[in-house]
């Protein structure tokens, strides 16, 4: 009997301990929680801590690798996250699928720091700028190693040159991979013409034996390590990679490329809307945007941050802040469920080809 009493006492002690532990952890942020879903390696982690300290909000921070992975997770439950950072075409898809909510800009005063031209460019996927606040933007291009590539790099065609067999890194994400093949053929990167997609598919299959690997975030490390000669990469990685390995250079091919914007949006099912607004406002603060830019090196649309960049080389860098008027650039658009299916089926064909 005594034993039983002791065990009962122990079990209840454990339960109470558990409950109070849970209780204290959820009450830690005095001002509740905030669930953030962002790209991997897309923020200076100190900024999250600083946000928690200044606001008393407890941040739960998760990361994704492609827009499609983010969508699949959010489609299950739009209340799983409060604030997310998808790209242009995915924001359009989220608006059309009624998965995000319009923002109340009176609660995001720092949005004034974002340059007007970026809001104007956002109109393509977010008409009237009702849903999104730009966070980073850039182009997609070829990063190459000057010691390994002797030819001039100014065309996507070089990614089909057998000379560089096994030295090419392609993006492992459907729209980015197809963008390369479509533009190489002179098509729009938003085409839904099955014949044009088929031609791009055949090109990607023909390219496959030359490709070392289909990767996303690893392009950066593999290029720095000299594992490959040519890689398709976002402009934001260029400053960092060139700083780490001086043999590397970033080029946007003459045929044109993709211009993209990643923006903060608030989910439809968000349970912490005012915290999410505080987060977006915080991200738009000049000093925070600058801190993030210096850490992740993705071009910031924040004018105050741009003006305060100390390194003159980076401030004047054509890679970070290119002259858009001289380039042929096109933004991705959401192509509807039928367009998505065309691309997904074609991508499956490429990936399962021998």
């Amino acid at each position: 009997m005594k034993k039983k009493l002791i065990s009962v006492a122990l079990v209840s002690a454990m339960l109470i301990g558990c409950l109070s532990a849970c209780g204290s952890s959820s009450g830690q942020g005095d001002n509740g929680k905030l669930y953030v879903y962002n790209w991997g390696e897309y923020i200076d982690e100190d900024v999250i801590e600083q946000f928690e300290e200044e606001t008393g909000i407890d941040v739960v921070y998760d990361m994704f690798e492609t827009n499609e992975i983010m969508f699949a997770k959010l489609a299950q439950d739009t209340s799983a996250y409060d604030v997310i950072c998808p790209s242009d075409y995915m924001i359009q898809k989220l608006i059309e699928k009624d998965m995000i909510q319009p923002l109340n800009f009176t609660n995001i005063p720092n949005a004034k720091n974002i340059g007007d031209e970026y809001f104007k460019n956002s109109e393509v996927f977010d008409p009237g700028n009702r849903y999104s606040v730009p966070y980073c933007w850039g182009t997609v291009g070829i990063l190459y190693n000057k010691t390994m590539v002797t030819d001039p790099v100014n065309s996507w065609d070089i990614l089909w040159d057998p000379k560089y067999s096994g030295q090419i890194l392609m993006q492992d994400s459907v729209r980015d991979a197809f963008m390369v093949a479509l533009i190489k053929n002179g098509y729009s990167l938003n085409t839904t013409d099955p014949a044009e997609i088929e031609k791009a598919t055949q090109d990607l299959i023909a390219q496959k034996p030359l490709v070392q690997a289909y990767v996303i975030d690893q392009v950066r490390d593999k290029m720095i390590g000299g594992e490959a000669a040519l890689g398709v990469i976002y402009s934001g990685e260029a400053i960092y990679t060139v700083r780490e390995n001086r043999d590397l250079e970033y080029v946007v091919p003459d045929e044109g490329s993709n211009i993209w914007i990643d923006s903060w949006v608030i989910t439809k099912g968000s349970k912490n809307v005012s915290n999410a607004e505080k987060w977006i406002d915080f991200m738009c603060r000049g000093d925070i945007a600058l801190k993030n830019f210096e850490y992740i090196t993705y071009s910031t649309p924040n004018i105050e941050a741009q003006n305060n960049i100390e390194d003159e080389d980076i401030k004047g860098s054509k890679v970070a802040f290119p002259d858009l008027s001289t380039m042929k650039l096109e933004a991705f658009k959401y192509l509807g469920d039928s367009g998505d299916k065309l691309y997904n089926d074609a991508w499956m064909k490429v990936k399962s080809a021998n």
């Binding site: 690997a213 990767v215 000299g226 499956m348």
Partner: protein, 275 residues
């Protein structure tokens, strides 16, 4: 009456497991089957399952079976002699040795596979050492060979342990009796040791073949996302394409192959008991 009480308490004791099994095995399986035989509108269809006949998916399935088979054979050839060596050692020493084989499993499987990636890369650790010694370098990263290597490395302990277990349970007297009756060492091995270790071999094969057949992490990391296994295709349906119906349909096909594998093994298990 007493029996009833026992059965009731037995049921009570088992209930946590039953709850567990229902929540984490029965419900997910039912969901996979439901999604697998319906389309987006919820109507019944066999299309998702039938799509395995599409050349891309079918090729991936064949490739998965081939690579899993090769890995299982290699694991067996490596594990059996090792199991015999371990079993022939003194008990006090071999617990320490067995721990050595389990030790790598204490570290996360993804991390270990990632390590192989950096080891095998063109300018990775192995090639740097080979170059330093003026030896020819190896180039197997992003090939089927690298995937098989990853499978063998990760699943080898699952072959060693059951084989070691069944071998160490064989009574020395049985082997001594065979020798007394005039069997030489080859005969003793073929007619005593091998048949008695069949249960271990069979559970070893199951524990290697099935995870190798269904893996997607190893092929993504060591195959550079270039070599698609059926596991990768299913994973992409769920994470990238967001087509749960097709993903579930293909999972059902894969489950059929796993069931077939288990049926063949249970039959050979019975036969193994005979000879």
């Amino acid at each position: 009456m007493k029996l009833f009480k026992n059965a009731k308490s037995a049921f009570l004791m088992a209930s946590p497991y039953l709850v567990w099994a229902v929540i984490f095995i029965v419900v997910p399986l039912a969901m996979v089957i439901y999604y697998g035989v319906t389309d987006t509108s919820g109507a019944f269809t066999f299309d998702n399952i039938a799509r395995i006949s599409e050349s891309g998916y079918f090729k991936a399935l064949c490739r998965s079976i081939a690579l899993a088979f090769i890995s299982t054979v290699i694991c067996f050839l490596l594990a059996y002699p090792l199991g015999m060596i371990l079993a022939s050692m003194k008990l006090t020493r071999n617990t320490y040795l067995v721990t050595l084989f389990i030790l790598p499993m204490w570290m996360n499987f993804l991390l270990r596979t990632l390590t192989w990636m950096t080891l095998l890369e063109g300018k990775g650790v192995i090639n740097t050492v080979l170059e330093f010694l003026h030896l020819p370098t190896i180039n197997i990263i992003n090939t089927s060979g690298a995937i098989v290597l990853g499978m063998v490395y990760n699943f080898l302990p699952f072959m060693i342990l059951p084989i070691y277990n069944s071998l160490s349970r064989i009574d020395d007297n049985v082997i001594n009796a065979a020798r007394d009756l005039g069997a030489d060492s080859v005969q003793t091995f073929l007619r005593i040791t091998l048949p008695l270790s069949v249960p271990g071999i069979i559970s070893g094969i199951t524990m290697v073949f099935i995870p190798a057949l269904t893996t997607f992490a190893i092929s993504t990391m060591l195959g550079g996302s270039k070599i698609l296994l059926i596991g990768n295709i299913i994973e992409q349906q769920f994470t990238q394409v967001y087509d749960w119906h097709l993903g579930s349909g293909l999972s059902i096909v894969l489950m059929i192959f796993i069931l077939l594998n288990m049926i063949i093994e249970s039959i050979s298990d019975k036969e193994g008991g005979i000879f």
